[in-house]
């Protein structure tokens, strides 16, 4: 099988292009989270979508329906609002608030899942794949939805690059000059929630945060410029999506099926590890140059 077939073959192109789009939007937003030192948000929000997905299943929504995405989106926003509420009203520390929301929302999701399992067995079977993702069932219909959503994420990011940059690096500056702080925070949340929702279908709730963290971590090792970091992270993300899909098909044997989601997470983490190792070798090299 040729590499190029993965982008054209009617069976393969759905999962491959779908996961690549997912990976690009997750990696781009991952850069924002990385420089804000809030990478855990992705982990929390992806888990927070699970009760949303399950409630949608309990309402009898088909697993291909866009309503699953809407329910997941609402659940992610609710999860984020709960984090904010805990931090601001109840003075809970950020890491505690994030972990608390992750566990409690996911717990509710799993509980609803065990109820739905008996009441809506077929819907449950389809929807529980959101846990670890099931890219293989993505069709052209998905590509359209995912392309539109990813395009939305990318264009919002490009349009609001400067205000987002300023608000992320120097909040007081952006407030003083009036670059719209509240609006930017809402946009930030919208982008994170959107990219999480895009990701859960292919990589799944549990592994999704790898796609937010790994490409950004890898990209950071090669540049000191935020704009370059975005481009590199998107490239790492897209390659992880493609290679993950490729390896999952090529390495699978008749008695062994390797799902796409975990493969993508492994490839992305591999990129990050190699990049960290290269950065370390470079540091050691320069230090030895300075000493001699």
């Amino acid at each position: 099988m040729q590499l190029f077939d993965f982008l054209t073959d009617p069976v393969l192109r759905g999962p491959t292009i779908g996961t690549m789009l997912m990976a690009v939007s997750a990696s781009l937003i991952g850069v924002l989270l990385f420089v804000r030192k809030r990478s855990l948000i992705a982990e929390t929000l992806s888990h927070a979508t699970y009760p949303g997905v399950m409630i949608a299943a309990a309402c009898g929504v088909e697993h291909l329906s866009i309503w699953i995405l809407v329910a997941a989106f609402i659940a992610a926003i609710l999860g984020y609002q709960t984090v904010e509420l805990l931090q601001q009203r109840f003075r809970v520390r950020t890491d505690v608030a994030l972990t608390f929301v992750l566990a409690s929302f996911f717990g509710v999701g799993v509980t609803i899942a065990s109820i739905v399992q008996h009441t809506h067995t077929s819907a449950y079977r389809q929807v529980q794949t959101y846990l670890f993702g099931q890219a293989a069932t993505m069709s052209d219909h998905h590509i359209v939805i995912y392309s539109l959503l990813s395009l939305l994420v990318i264009s919002l990011l490009m349009l609001f690059f400067r205000p987002l940059f300023a608000a992320t690096f120097d909040k007081s500056f952006s407030r003083v000059v009036g670059l719209g702080n509240k609006g930017i925070e809402i946009l930030f949340l919208l982008l994170v929630a959107l990219s999480v929702v895009i990701g859960i279908k292919s990589v799944g709730v549990v592994l999704l945060s790898a796609m937010f963290i790994a490409p950004a971590t890898a990209a950071r090792q090669y540049t000191n410029k935020l704009s370059t970091m975005f481009v590199l992270a998107a490239a790492f993300g897209a390659s992880s999506g493609f290679l993950g899909s490729y390896l999952s098909v090529v390495l699978s044997k008749p008695h062994l099926s390797l799902p796409i989601g975990p493969m993508i997470a492994i490839v992305a983490s591999g990129f990050a590890l190699i990049s960290l190792a290269i950065a370390r070798m470079r540091r050691v090299f320069y230090e030895s140059l300075q000493r001699s």
């Binding site: 420089v35 690096f169 007081s172 407030r175 003083v176 000191n224």
Partner: protein, 237 residues
């Protein structure tokens, strides 16, 4: 041109119910280089932050050039304290200074040619043109302050607020910064500078605001910098 740059009317600011600034009233003349002087915890930084809307005021009114702060944001530049920024952030000196253009051209993705020119010019003015592509963590404290000052220059503001721009910086940087501040003043800009070094206030600044939670005095440096008033400022309230 407006004569009064900043007007405070019985301004009160609290941190968690503890009063930090009380009944501050004053009118700062435009076109002056003003030092804000007072002991640690006197509320100098808080005064700047309250004026800029970064901390909430409890009572009182603040106007800049006769208008509420919200309406004149495009005319305000702020140089924060050295420690208040994440130095590991992937940002070069160029990008930092470019940020001064963001308010004017907020939806642009890449720097235009004229924006680049402005950035180069500002960096030259503070003597930082050689550090264009440096990541900010690889700068000394003095170089950082100069880079932030360059960003303020690019903003083309009319009133500048600087929070301890001379803290912990080398002599060469201090000289450069002071020179830039004087140039701005000579071009009719108003500058309010939180300052620690009492010795240099009388030689380098036109006017001084003495505060210790309350206003001790505001006026030309020569009149305000008397042993009595300084003693009063640094006395524990």
């Amino acid at each position: 041109m407006e004569n009064i740059a900043l007007k405070l009317n019985s301004l009160d600011v609290f941190y968690e119910k503890i009063p930090v600034l009380q009944k501050l009233s004053m009118e700062v003349k435009a076109g002056e280089l003003v030092a804000i002087v007072g002991p640690n915890g006197a509320g100098k930084s808080t005064l700047l932050k309250a004026v800029l809307g970064l901390v909430k005021k409890a009572r009182g009114s603040i106007t800049i050039f006769g208008q509420p702060v919200k309406k004149v944001r495009a005319r305000i530049a702020y140089v924060p304290q050295c420690e208040s920024v994440d130095w590991d952030f992937p940002i070069t000196v160029f990008d930092l200074v470019l940020m001064g253009c963001f308010k004017r051209n907020r939806f642009r993705l890449w720097a235009s040619r004229s924006e680049k020119q402005e950035v180069y010019k500002a960096l030259e003015e503070v003597g930082m043109e050689a550090f264009l592509d440096r990541q900010i963590s690889q700068l000394s404290c003095g170089q950082r302050q100069r880079a932030f000052l360059a960003r303020a220059l690019v903003q083309k503001a009319d009133i500048y607020f600087l929070d301890e721009p001379f803290a912990g910086i080398d002599a060469a940087s201090a000289k450069q910064v002071l020179q830039t501040l004087h140039t701005l003043r000579d071009n009719g800009k108003t500058l309010l500078v939180v300052h620690h070094d009492l010795e240099s206030v009388s030689t380098d600044f036109d006017a001084v605001i003495l505060i210790n939670k309350q206003l001790i005095g505001y006026g030309p440096t020569k009149e305000m910098f008397t042993p009595d008033l300084i003693k009063q400022t640094y006395a524990t309230v």
